[in-house]
């Protein structure tokens, strides 16, 4: 019998044996082989109320959401991150990690092969089935479920404690709180702008009131005109026209979710009935706003600057002098601004957006991104 035939025969015999016997006898072994001799477990309740056992210390982390990847980097634990998703593109170093697939349909075997101590998931993005599957493989997972900006801060702290770096968590949280407080002080006198946050444009999808994005808008001196129970409600153009937002807000640079170029938007049938579209009152901010991670503070600040430019033009210095100056320069020089900034890493499909996101990338590394860039 040749080698291949022999292996085939063995595989086949084994397959038959496994089908008959089930897989139970070896299950106990998988834990003893995959981790250190006597793992210490810590029992915690995650943000979805699940009670989970997590080996201590957590040395190998797989993240199944871009926001969690960013949080791990913000906590300075990037060396422990052994795998993430194909959407984890920030910071750029995260793109070099082993990819386990998308957030919705990751490859279980790729995750298992990385022998993680802990898999991080978030309820808003990952599927419950993935968590169940990890459970059945004996892989610990921890789920976050932030619905407000405060939740994001608390979530980062909890995660830091869980991963054994409470100090890093406290400093990330303090930094976020400090920036938000400064922003609130600045915005206090100004009435909130009414904003339509466009998640997707065809059909028009916006954000519901229980999402962290709606909360982020509040911090930016804005209020979402959509007041839906559902997280990602589809909004009719008629309804949008009836509510007449002051501004339309977009998250740029996420190539999958990019609306068409802003120039084209007003030519789309029906959109011009919104005065904000007819008058091109758009706010385009970093897609960090879509990610419940520390960097969202920088997106909030960007949005605040675009919605309330007068508050930022008057007295530079309080928040971050450099970035304000940079911002003012940009406003003066108009299109020339793009020449100074590095090109975007991933070229979005539409020119208008690539220009804008290029500009944003340049500025967003300064204020809120500091905690993340290491």
């Amino acid at each position: 019998m040749s080698g291949l035939a022999k292996q085939l025969f063995q595989t086949v015999t084994f397959a038959a044996a496994t089908l008959l016997l089930g897989t139970a006898p070896f299950r106990a072994q998988s834990t003893s082989l995959s981790s250190s001799p006597s793992p210490v477990y810590r029992e915690v309740t995650d943000e979805t109320g699940r009670s989970v056992r997590i080996p201590q210390p957590v040395r190998r982390i797989v993240s199944l959401a871009p926001s969690l990847t960013e949080t791990v980097y913000a906590l300075g634990l990037q060396d422990r991150l052994v795998g993430d998703t194909e959407f984890c593109d920030y910071p750029p170093d995260a793109q070099k990690k082993t990819k386990v697939g998308g957030a919705i349909n990751p490859s279980l075997e790729q995750i298992a092969a990385l022998h993680p101590d802990l898999v991080l998931v978030t309820k808003g993005l990952n599927r419950l089935e993935t968590v169940h599957a990890l459970d059945s493989l004996g892989i610990s997972s921890y789920a976050t479920d932030p619905h407000t900006v405060n939740d994001i801060i608390a979530s980062s702290k909890k995660l830091a404690n869980l991963l054994g770096v409470p100090d890093a968590g406290a400093s990330v949280a303090a930094e976020m709180e400090h920036q938000l407080a400064a922003l609130q002080q600045r915005l206090a006198s100004s009435p909130a702008k009414r904003v339509l946050f466009v998640v997707w444009h065809q059909p028009l999808i916006s954000v519901g009131k229980h999402t962290f994005i709606a909360d982020a808008l509040r911090y930016a001196g804005a209020v979402s005109i959509v007041d839906a129970e559902q997280d990602w409600p589809q909004v009719s153009l008629e309804e949008a026209a009836r509510l007449q937002p002051d501004y339309l807000a977009f998250a740029a640079s996420h190539s999958e979710a990019s609306p068409p170029g802003l120039e084209a938007l007003s030519t789309l049938p029906g959109w011009r009935i919104m005065e904000a579209v007819a008058n091109r009152r758009y706010a385009v901010i970093s897609d960090a706003v879509n990610r419940p991670a520390p960097r969202i503070v920088s997106a909030i600040e960007e949005l605040a600057r675009q919605l309330h430019p007068e508050l930022f033009a008057e007295k530079p210095g309080n928040l971050n002098e450099n970035s304000v100056k940079e911002k003012m320069e940009k406003e003066k020089t108009g299109k020339d601004k793009d020449e100074k900034t590095p090109p975007p890493l991933i070229q979005p499909p539409h020119l208008a957006f690539s220009l804008l996101s290029g500009a944003l990338r340049g500025s967003d590394a300064v204020p809120g991104g500091r905690a993340c860039v290491r």
Binding site: S30, I104, H115
Partner: protein
């Protein structure tokens, strides 16, 4: 029709089982994580010798805990769908009948979703709670079959075109209800859209495998007892009745059993289309249309088809995964058109 001998039946099944084993080996070998044939062989050797300390942990994790359960699930789902398709084709005397085309898969999907919605609001013992989704899927499948059957009847006989149209309309109506439920309900229904495309990626509780296996053996066994009657039914319901077939009984048995098979398959894997259509056809072309050979060969053929399609789904865009239903649809839809045109010609 050639006379059936046990020897020939066993030989045919054996040949197909060999192909299934080869496909299973391929499915074990390939995946997002590369596994060398040498490492695989060494681990298998150690497993056979019960030298557990020599088995690599990757083997246990990836082959044994992820790939094998998934292959096993694919085998059971494929066999169930294929036997259900064969039965529907015989019973409705329509070669284009298939759980997916007839809307039965959608009906089972709706039943399963309703069960998922009801589940948090009722208190059940854990054992019964695990069976709630399969039960909902079965009821949905059975109800849809009844509706489609009634729609397809004309003057007491089944009319092919009316039946297919009835199935298509029912399927789209049910899909609309599912879309409505998904867009109005909050909570964890996001996974459903993936599931509705057909998905084998989620490992299941061990008890579910037993439940599936026993359900499959029971239901296909029941169908197999009517195999000779199904042969006669091909001539027409009246003709079969004249030849002494208890048509209402056969119809009842096959309906319930085929709905159960569809419900079981859909409840664990979503709607994997076209397997119940293509596989019986291919088997009919190769082995003839005697249901005594067609049913077992279609079962094994269905297992081969789904395991193979799922291997493609796992590997083509690795480490991402396609829905296995997308793979079967890409192959199945053109074949469906071909069969339809050949029938019209």
């Amino acid at each position: 029709m050639r006379p059936l001998t046990l020897r020939r039946l066993l030989l045919q099944c054996f040949a197909l089982l060999v192909i299934l084993f080869v496909v299973v080996v391929i499915a074990i070998k390939f995946g997002a994580v590369p596994v060398s044939l040498y490492a695989l062989g060494r681990d298998l050797w150690n497993v056979l010798l019960h030298q557990r300390t020599n088995i690599s942990s990757d083997y246990v994790l990836i082959i044994q805990n992820i790939r094998l359960p998934r292959i096993l699930l694919g085998i059971m789902v494929g066999a169930s769908l294929s036997v259900a398709g064969t039965s529907f084709q015989a019973l409705l005397r329509n070669p284009l009948a298939d759980p997916y085309v007839l809307g039965v898969s959608s009906g089972a999907g709706l039943g399963a979703i309703l069960a998922l919605i009801v589940e948090p609001h009722v208190t059940l013992s854990p054992v019964f709670a695990a069976l709630l989704t399969p039960l909902g899927a079965f009821l949905g499948a059975a109800a849809t079959v009844t509706v489609v059957y009634l729609l397809g009847r004309r003057e007491g006989q089944i009319d092919s075109t009316t039946l297919l149209l009835g199935g298509v309309i029912t399927a789209s109506f049910i899909s609309a209800i599912i879309m409505f439920l998904m867009s109005t309900l909050t909570g964890n229904l996001r996974g459903l859209s993936f599931w509705l495309m057909g998905d084998l990626s989620t490992p299941l509780q061990k008890s579910v495998y037993w439940f599936l296996g026993i359900g499959f053996l029971g239901a296909s066994g029941a169908i197999y007892t009517t195999a000779s009657d199904l042969n006669l039914l091909l001539a027409g319901e009246k003709e079969a009745m004249h030849l002494g077939v208890d048509v209402p009984r056969v119809r009842l048995v096959v309906y319930i059993a085929a709905s159960l098979l569809t419900g079981l398959a859909v409840s664990v894997s979503g709607a994997i289309g076209y397997v119940g259509l293509i596989v019986p056809h291919v088997m009919r072309l190769i082995f003839g249309s005697d249901h005594r050979t067609l049913l077992p060969t279609a079962a094994i053929g269905g297992a081969i088809a789904v395991v193979f399609a799922d291997t493609l789904a796992r590997t083509v865009v690795a480490p991402n995964e396609l829905a296995v239903g997308a793979v079967t649809a890409v192959v199945g839809a053109p074949l469906f058109i071909y069969l339809l045109r050949r029938r019209l010609a």
